[in-house]
């Protein structure tokens, strides 16, 4: 019997290794896998490259990893927040590297990583600083930029309901990067609000088919 359920956040992230590249779902606090991130902070593993839309706010989530100096590089679209945060401190002191990526280019690069596409051409960023170092090519009389896929060692994703095969649904705008990130990592770990018996999720409503998911941990909190 296939059972992708793991009993604790700590076990589920125990094999994250120094220098690993990690995709983290979420937009603001919606869809952030706080349980998995806290477990990862507790391991102390460092040198991580984190790919996520934001750098977090306050002291939890990605901020905890950054405060602990576990993150060497952040690939991100919007690392600014209303709270003064740890990312700002680490960035201004020069101890964390930042690759700033337009948000749709970020999500599409991850989508490409999961979908077997090496690179693709978009108009986003043409004629701006985001074109620096990228190939520009003309199609249909316009310039387009070549953008490269992002793949990762791990994805940490927050979902709503999951079954033992890893099928998952999401809640409202907490869906955001989750369904895309689970496809682009070697090991995809889902933090679920609820585990339901196999067959409970309507096959038409499953957003993430279990094929993309390796581990499911229910958020007991």
């Amino acid at each position: 019997m296939i059972d992708k359920q793991w009993s604790s956040f700590a076990d589920a992230v125990a094999d994250v290794f120094p220098g690993a590249r990690i995709l983290v779902s979420g937009f603001g606090d919606a869809g952030l896998p706080f349980g998995l991130l806290h477990a990862l902070a507790t391991t102390g593993v460092s040198g991580l490259t984190v790919v996520s839309n934001n750098a977090g706010t306050g002291d939890d989530g990605i901020e905890e990893l950054i405060r602990n100096r576990q993150v060497a590089k952040l690939i991100c679209s919007y690392p600014r927040s209303v709270d003064p945060n740890w990312f700002e401190k680490r960035y201004l002191e020069g101890s964390i590297e930042l690759e700033l990526v337009p948000q749709g280019t970020l999500s599409e690069r991850i989508r490409a990583g999961g979908a077997g596409i090496a690179a693709f051409y978009v108009r986003t960023g043409v004629g701006t600083d985001f074109a620096a170092g990228k190939e520009t090519r003309e199609f249909h009389g316009h310039d387009w930029l070549l953008e490269q896929a992002i793949v990762a060692d791990f994805a940490l994703v927050r979902a709503y309901r999951c079954d033992r095969w890893g099928n998952a649904t999401y809640r409202k705008s907490a869906r955001n990067f989750g369904p895309t990130m689970v496809a682009a990592a070697k090991v995809s770990i889902v933090e679920a609000e609820e585990i339901v018996p196999l067959g409970t999720l309507d096959p038409e409503e499953i957003v993430t088919p279990g094929i993309y998911v390796d581990r499911v941990v229910v958020d007991a909190a």
């Binding site: 337009p102 948000q103 986003t124």
Partner: protein, 239 residues
Amino acid sequence: MLPENVSIAPAGVAEPLGWSPLQIAIRAYEDLAEGQYVNLGIGLPTMILAAAQRGSKEVIFHSENGILGLRDIHGEGERDPDLIDAGKNPVALVAGGSFFSHAESFAMIRGGHLDVAVLGAYEVTVAGHLANWSSEQARPSGIAPTSVPAVGGAVDLAANARSVFVLMKNVERGDGLRLTSESALPLTGRRCVTRVYANLGVFRPTGSAFLVEELADGVTRDYLVARFAANRVLVEFAN
């Protein structure tokens, strides 16, 4: 020439002249047509949701984080932390709204499916260039940064939406202007701004000037001409 009886207050000190932020949002909302799909960026643009509450048009608002059909929550009971706009503020959903992934949301944006993107700005130039993601000019390499850059979805929207409306709380910045001939700031997009809705009125970048389509209440043509001339920014008037 500046009329002598007008004081130019430093930005952030006095209230901006002309329209209030809500009035700016209401004015921009007037130019949205029923059936349009309209992305709302962070900050002032989300105030269009408040303007829409007073309207009866079916305009469908898009938020980059995977929502079509968001609406103002205006003090309704429970706020759902999983239902937020691009600025991470709680919103509600209209009947007919839908949720989707970021990848889908930006496929929508890049594919040219948004009729209008409404964005904030640091500066807009006469050519329609938009600078809204970094207030820091390019640094010589080797110089440490003094602020955190953040771009979000603005570059995607500027490059791909069918039209871009910029909402600007205060055109004036001390003696300077945020409507400029050239911008030294890092650009969000080139030749992308359709129209600027600002405290002083409604402006259309023509390539070489700002065409004033409407003056805000309490803003005179003379004042505007003088203010722009002092900054060597061309203005034209529709009538």
